[in-house]
């Protein structure tokens, strides 16, 4: 039943990393990077989350099944976001066939 026992030092190292990244993300927010601000904030958040998942939650030492479950969850989340956005961001976009005027006139006849 005893899983992988992680050395104390590693935990503290990870913790230091997390605090460091928090400081970093807060700091970055005070610099104007234009579009990159959002991206940087999210990238740092992903790094932090990965640290927690891999070390605190022992995913690094877990079976493939656990990884699959986690992967599935994120794929599903991606599906939800991607397909919803595929609508929300293309409401204004309507494809125009190149010869549509001719077609319409043909139909009208």
């Amino acid at each position: 039943m005893v899983g992988h026992v992680v050395h104390k030092k590693l935990y503290f190292l990870v913790f230091a990393g997390l605090i460091g990244l928090t400081a970093l993300t807060t700091g970055v927010a005070f610099i104007d990077l234009g579009k990159w601000n959002t991206l940087a904030a999210l990238a740092i958040a992903v790094c932090k989350a990965s640290l927690v998942v891999l070390f605190f939650m022992h995913l690094r030492w877990s079976s493939g099944l656990m990884r699959m479950v986690l992967l599935a969850a994120f794929i599903w989340f991606a599906i939800l976001v991607a397909l919803t956005l595929s609508d929300e961001f293309t409401r204004q976009w309507t494809p125009v066939p190149s010869n549509w005027q001719a077609q319409v006139q043909q139909q009208a006849r």
């Binding site: 939800l80 919803t84 929300e88 976009w93």
Partner: protein, 552 residues
């Protein structure tokens, strides 16, 4: 078809066994209300579910009967429009969330998953009991909403009607669905863990009965889809309470976003209903053909494929909802994809009959009925996935016909077939096969009479959810109502003879159908611990070719 072929009863072959009453099994292990309400035995919990969903089924059914009666006359034969709206909302909410979604997973799944894998119980027996209580609490909230005056938003809770304009009990109904959703999540979780961890030695993934593949796929949908519905309904409730608008266009919200989030769950939910039913049919077709299933791995993988693809198609509910044309095209092509694994299944079932030794007891009739109705329902789905045609039939009775063919013709036929097939295992007794065949035939005929006219009504342009309608639609509506009365009778008959058989039916014996599968190797009804010793599996699923040594 085979409704008239009498005299082929397997019951006669039931092996003489010490009477059921003299042996200790899960039904008579202990008595009293408390022993039922506090049980952690998966079989007893399955019975609790059976009783509760039967109750909900007849409530939902009563609403349907009233609606069909009302639609005999274009002016509305007996109800006010407001009442009618509440009825169809209640019918939808109860049938979808409190009958169809828990039907096969919670009743047959609960009963069979441990039996089929040779386990003593589910992975988390107490969690299982908790799911039932959660389910009942959800049910009570919904019933409260109904009794306190009803809900009139439809089961879809579209905003801003549900958030701002409806002044009925939206919150308690939404809360009821929300709570029942958690029951669904917990059940799914329990099944996934059980199937992963507790299979008997030798029972590899590709020896699993196809029913379990279907249940597994269903559980995935429940786990990953239901929370989105939960959060969406929470937002609706919060919006009503605090009058803030996440979906309210008056403050810049987007009502179509609600539809996205809602259908992200509610389309896959259709597969929560139909996938287990497909699993049941796979069991029935093999058992009554005495033959291995045709294309085992194709059926197994098509279940998983359906579960995955089902999450990619929700936008086809919104082709004319103001969704962008671009998104419409994407969702259309994805929707066609889901037709393929379904078609593969139908072909494989049909091919299973080939060179079989086919007998026609009631469960098989239900199964064949399922295949027929599901084919018709599935194929009409193509119309709805086709953008140009959907732009005409969307939101009409065509849609109503389509999803009833899938959810009633498909899911309920499968459910009844499964109940008939495993009833001897559940109760230890046989029901009268003649009556059962009769009711299968009545349901098949009544069903087609009820819902086929609705396809035609739909193409003629009759919108759904209409309490009154234009006179040109009357003929078909009357036909549909007439069919519904036949269908209603068809559903009542099994209730009567099933209850009768619990006391007076002939003793069934452990394996009345001569079927394969671990569940048939233990006595009927099974003892509380299911198996005296953990069975070892040495053969493939549905090994009908081998000598039938295990049959008692």
């Amino acid at each position: 078809m085979g409704g008239g072929r009498e005299g082929n009863h397997e019951m006669g072959t039931a092996v003489v066994e010490p009477g059921i009453e003299s042996r200790v099994h899960y039904l008579n292990a202990s008595y009293g209300i408390k022993s039922w309400l506090l049980t952690t035995d998966h079989k007893r919990i399955a019975m609790l579910y059976l009783a509760s969903i039967t109750f909900f089924f007849f409530i939902g059914g009563a609403a349907a009967v009233l609606m069909r009666l009302n639609l005999i006359s274009p002016q509305g034969a007996l109800l006010e429009p407001a009442t009618y709206n509440k009825l169809f909302s209640m019918h939808g909410i109860i049938m979808v969330f409190f009958f169809l979604i828990p039907s096969i997973p919670a009743v047959l799944g609960n009963f069979l998953v441990p039996l089929m894998i040779g386990a003593r119980d589910l992975a988390f027996p107490r969690l299982n009991l908790l799911s039932w209580y959660v389910f009942m609490v959800g049910g009570l909230f919904t019933l409260y909403a109904v009794i306190a005056g009803g809900v009139d938003t439809g089961w879809t809770f579209y905003t801003p009607l549900s958030t701002t304009y409806a002044n009925t009990n939206v919150i308690s109904a939404a809360l009821g669905v929300f709570i029942a959703g958690f029951s669904s999540i917990l059940t799914g979780l329990n099944f996934v863990v059980t199937i992963h961890k507790m299979r008997a030695p030798g029972l590899t993934w590709f020896r699993l009965p196809l029913f379990l593949w279907a249940i597994y796929a269903t559980s995935i949908i429940q786990i990953l889809g239901t929370p989105v519905l939960a959060i969406t309904l929470t937002l609706v409730a919060l919006e009503r309470v605090f009058h803030v608008g996440v979906f309210d266009p008056a403050v810049g919200g987007d009502p179509i976003l609600f539809q996205h989030l809602f259908w992200f769950y509610s389309h896959p939910a259709v597969y929560i209903m139909i996938l287990p039913s497909m699993g049941v049919i796979s069991e029935l077709v093999t058992a009554f053909s005495k033959k291995r299933i045709f294309g085992y791995s194709f059926i197994a993988f098509s279940s998983v494929a359906i579960a995955v693809i089902s999450f990619l198609v929700w936008g086809h509910h919104m082709f004319v909802a103001g969704q962008s044309i671009y998104a419409g095209i994407v969702f259309s092509v994805l929707s066609f994809l889901v037709a393929i694994p379904s078609a593969v299944k139908v072909f494989n079932w049909t091919a299973t009959l080939y060179k079989g030794s086919v007998s026609y007891q009631a469960p098989m009739l239900y199964a064949l009925g399922f295949i027929g109705l599901f084919t018709m329902g599935g194929l009409t789905g193509l119309f709805l996935a086709t953008l140009a045609v959907d732009a005409h039939v969307h939101g009409t009775y065509f849609v109503v016909g389509h999803f009833h063919y899938i959810m009633v013709g498909g899911a309920v036929m499968g459910y009844l077939g499964g109940i008939h097939y495993w009833w001897p295992k559940i109760s230890g007794r046989m029901y009268p096969d003649g009556w059962a065949r009769l009711s299968a035939a009545i349901i098949f005929i009544g069903f087609n009479l009820t819902f086929f006219p609705q396809y035609m009504l739909g193409y003629l342009g009759m919108p759904r959810r209409y309490a009154v309608y234009a006179p040109e639609f009357q003929v078909l509506n009357v036909m549909s109502s007439a069919g519904a009365s036949i269908l209603g009778v068809g559903y009542l008959i099994p209730l009567v003879y099933m209850v009768w058989s619990m006391r007076y039916g002939p003793v069934a014996g452990p394996n009345p159908w001569g079927a394969k599968g671990l569940e048939w190797q233990t006595p009927s009804p099974p003892p509380t611990e299911n198996f005296e010793e953990t069975p070892k599996v040495t053969e493939e699923a549905y090994a009908y070719g081998t000598e039938e040594t295990q049959v008692a």
